[in-house]
């Protein structure tokens, strides 16, 4: 391998790679993102390798380990080509059958096909799965196609073409204009226009400038940044190199959680490979532009996703935010002009450069362009990573892509924007998802968290949970966030325990406004959002906890009691066996009884009862 010394050499290499790619030859891709790996994908890989090695197969099969497809709940995912056959929940033992039946005899294995939760129909290819149908997978789409550790794979799908274009045809000014014209906004949550940010740094004086990739994804249940870094690390790296060229930066950092070992590993490999091939380092592709990237591993503090805390952490200081009256683009890392963007923002850059700002700005709404990746979780049939054009409605997301609510239950609300986002009620499900509309509804885009709640979710308990998260993760530096959050949490704890008073609700609103106006960073100003939105949209549920001492959803332990329906109970004894506090008694085949004094309200009986005989009141 030798360094590529010019854009022409890179194009030549790409042509060779594409011509060598024989698509007729059978090949199998196995998703080995963190989700599928946890479900046993690595065993599936070794099973394929073993079978190919040990059995004298009549055909030559290529296997490829790829990144995350986003549909982790169905993993391990395996795609068989030709035919694009999509198998779910594949196990080690299935491999022999896949080779024999599908690869040799071209037959489908019924049990491995995806079953649509609504129509109960079996689906053959990935494109036909309802989960994927409405998606526009600009960033995630290539994850399932390429081996993230293989630079040639990325080059084969057109990778580093945007960098080539920039170095050959564009001035830094032109790159910034293109990004500005595209309408790309920061995908970390705040939605600041990326091009304007770059321009500020471009104009700022300084011999040394930095670009940083924020991969400190900390929202519970969010893993889109991880999936991109694991599955297509070069796309992020290419974006960073282009950004560095635009603002004239020589050094970049990626701040990534150390709890993302595979992302760290794959990104490290990408950096090494890019350096080896002259795509990173001194005189990139033979030009006069030099730039390198270092990995900085975060210790897992949620607040380090906040830009000033992140920068402090890279500097080796405690990860605490500071007032940002002087922007990082002027005085950031080591007081030098710094551009800090999220993983998704960086990964979008090469697409815009390659396909044009106009193409990009045609996707999405008037002010929110392109696609957004949401982590769809909670009480919804299809969970996983969903990449959709901005402006899609919550309803489409939950009911079409997500396949609706399991168990025929009703939807109650959707929490968007992670723990500092807001709770959007069912009546607003037609809300188009863009930055402004979400803020109007009291929530935010955030990093794309989306938790669906059904009728059995208590919104007071939900607000209490999210606030306890942000309280725990607050750095504790400023008083409004630290003390305000603590006091608000204790009021919510009281309400969920039936000790609340109606005047508490006004006090909550008052604390929230002080946290919003007074806190030092966005963690504090946003932390009251789940509380405020649930108060706004579900005031009756709060009042039920306070006035009637009841939890309508049957969640808050202090306010509920479990009963056994004497008519429904057939005395099977399942509840009796699981009850940890021996509160349930009764003879076999006779209705059981539950002693309220002994019951610890753990709900174990409800989970095992097959006759709906356990009632919660």
């Amino acid at each position: 391998m030798k360094k590529i010394k010019s854009p022409a050499e890179l194009e030549k290499l790409r042509e060779t790679l594409v011509s060598q790619n024989n698509t007729d030859k059978p090949w199998v891709t196995i998703c080995c993102g963190t989700g599928c790996s946890a479900s046993g994908a690595l065993d599936v890989v070794s099973s394929f390798e073993k079978a190919i090695k040990e059995k004298n197969l009549d055909i030559d099969i290529t296997t490829k380990v790829t990144g995350c497809h986003g549909f982790c709940e169905q993993g391990p995912l395996v795609v068989i080509n030709p035919g694009n056959i999509f198998y779910c929940k594949v196990k080690y033992e299935d491999v022999e059958e896949i080779i024999k039946e599908t690869l040799l005899e071209k037959k489908l294995i019924d049990r491995l096909l995806y079953v649509d939760p609504l129509s109960q129909e079996k689906v053959k290819t990935e494109d036909e799965v309802t989960f994927y149908k409405k998606q526009l997978r600009l960033l995630l789409g290539n994850n399932g196609m390429i081996d993230p550790t293989d630079l040639y794979d990325y080059l084969g799908i057109g990778g580093y073409g945007a960098l080539n274009k920039v170095l050959q045809e564009m001035t830094p000014r032109q790159v910034i204009e293109e990004i500005k014209n595209s309408g790309l906004r920061g995908r970390g949550g705040a939605g600041f226009p990326t091009g304007i940010k770059w321009e500020s740094s471009y104009k700022a004086e300084g011999d040394l400038k930095y670009v940083i990739c924020n991969a400190d994804e900390g929202d519970p249940g969010c893993f889109q940044d991880r999936s991109i870094l694991e599955g297509n690390p070069h796309s992020v790296l290419e974006g960073m190199i282009i950004g560095a060229y635009a603002v004239d930066s020589g050094q970049g950092y990626i701040y990534v959680r150390n709890e993302y070992p595979l992302a760290v590993k794959n990104f490290s490999t990408a950096i090494e490979k890019a350096r080896d091939y002259g795509l990173l380092g001194e005189n990139i592709l033979g030009s006069s532009f030099s730039f390198d990237v270092k990995i900085c591993r975060g210790g897992g503090a949620f607040v380090c996703g906040e830009s000033s805390a992140l920068i402090a952490s890279i500097e080796g200081k405690a990860g605490e935010p500071r007032d940002k009256y002087i922007h990082a683009t002027e005085k950031g890392l080591h007081d030098k002009p710094t551009v800090l963007n999220n993983v998704k923002t960086w990964a979008t850059v090469p697409l815009i450069i390659e396909k044009s700002a106009e193409w990009f700005s045609n996707i999405g709404t008037e002010k929110s362009k392109g696609t957004m990746i949401f982590s769809l979780t909670g009480k919804v049939n299809n969970t996983g990573l969903v990449e959709v054009p901005m402006g899609i409605t919550l309803k489409e997301l939950v009911f079409e892509i997500g396949g609706g609510i399991p168990g025929g239950k009703n939807i109650k609300a959707v929490q968007t924007g992670g723990p500092s986002g807001g709770c959007i009620p069912e009546k607003l499900l037609d809300l188009p998802l863009d930055y402004e509309k979400l803020i109007e509804a009291g929530s935010m885009m955030g990093s794309g968290g989306m938790i669906v709640m059904d009728e059995n979710t208590c919104v007071v308990d939900l607000a209490r949970y999210f606030l306890s998260f942000t309280q725990d993760e607050s750095c504790g530096k400023c008083i409004p966030c630290r003390e305000g959050g603590k006091q608000m949490l204790s009021i919510l704890n009281n309400i969920t325990q039936g000790k609340g008073q109606e005047k508490d609700l006004d006090l909550i609103r008052e604390i929230a406004s002080v946290m919003k106006d007074g806190s030092l960073c966005a963690l504090g100003t946003m932390a009251p959002n789940p509380v405020l939105t649930t108060l706004q949209y579900f005031p009756d549920e709060y009042l039920a906890h306070i006035r009637d001492k009841k939890c309508p959803a049957g969640v808050c332990q202090a306010l509920i009691e479990y009963f056994i329906d004497q008519e429904a109970c057939n005395g099977c004894g399942r509840c009796l066996k699981v009850c940890p506090s021996e509160a349930i008694t009764g003879h076999k085949e006779e209705p059981h009884e539950l002693d309220q004094d002994k019951c610890i309200k753990c709900g174990a009986c409800t989970e095992v009862c097959r006759h709906e005989a356990i009632l919660v009141k």
């Binding site: 405690a318 500071r322 009256y325 504790g476 530096k477 008083i479 630290r482 106006d517």
Partner: protein, 260 residues
């Protein structure tokens, strides 16, 4: 030169200055608990929040960290919005450390009789971080710093162990606004309870009086170029010794300049 308006007073700023510095220079008082002119502004207590207006935009900013750079902004140090936030911050602090005099005084000034919040059994520390900043920036030691986060945050020595770094200078206690850092001395020992640290005291080489923590003189000498003997004596003996040595000089000599 930047001209701004603070509480209807036209003021001018030269070069880099924060809003708080500029206001104080012009006789406008803004309350704060985490600021000290000797150390870097921190922006933690948020009591010094002021309302600024530029063009159509209005927002609250921490005056201790806000740089005065834009011409023509209007600053209100006691607007209703500012007072609302300030009052509640004091209520939070009253609930955290009800015994602290300065917080009682500031609350009374704002008309707060009682905090509406749950009292937490806590020490008098409000986590302003002045002790840690003074130790790091002025003393150059970083013997104490913040540990943990969120509701568990506190200032402490590493692992709460007696500090090996502390020179016992007690600059931390000097800058602490709430008196949370208490210093006691007994049996040739200086004890700082909050840091769980004991420092032996040193005797004056002349009169045997205990006059300084034992490791302070050596540390000061390593930082500053001073005659080595100077710090071996207590303050009284030192003055006496200087006076004696001066008495041996010919005061009419041109080499000696006696300042008023």
């Amino acid at each position: 030169m930047v001209r701004i308006n603070i509480d209807s007073k036209e003021v001018e700023a030269n070069g880099e200055s924060t809003l708080l510095e500029l206001a104080r220079k012009n006789g406008i008082e803004i309350p704060t608990l985490c600021h000290h002119q000797a150390v870097t502004p921190y922006g933690a207590c948020r009591l010094c929040l002021v309302e600024i207006k530029k063009e159509d935009e209005t927002k609250l900013v921490a005056s201790c960290t806000y740089p005065v750079r834009e011409d023509g902004i209007t600053v209100l140090t006691q607007s209703p919005k500012v007072n609302r936030v300030r009052k509640m911050i004091l209520e939070f602090l009253l609930a955290r450390c009800p015994e602290v005099e300065i917080i009682q005084e500031m609350s009374a000034e704002m008309g707060i009789k009682q905090s509406r919040f749950i009292l937490y059994d806590n020490d008098d520390c409000i986590l302003c971080g002045l002790c840690a900043r003074v130790c790091e920036e002025i003393i150059g030691k970083s013997a104490v710093s913040f540990t943990d986060r969120g509701p568990d945050r506190k200032v402490s020595t590493p692992f709460n162990e007696p500090s090996e770094e502390c020179v016992g200078c007690t600059a931390c206690a000097f800058v602490c606004p709430t008196g949370a850092i208490k210093v006691e001395e007994w049996d040739e020992i200086r004890f700082i309870e909050k840091w769980n640290t004991e420092i032996p005291l040193q005797k004056c080489a002349k009169c045997d009086m205990l006059y300084t923590p034992a490791n302070t003189p050596g540390y000061i000498l390593s930082k500053m170029q001073l005659p080595e003997n100077l710090l071996r004596l207590c303050e009284k003996c030192r003055r006496k010794s200087v006076a004696e040595s001066l008495s041996n000089y010919d005061v009419t000599s041109k080499n000696v300049i006696i300042k008023k």
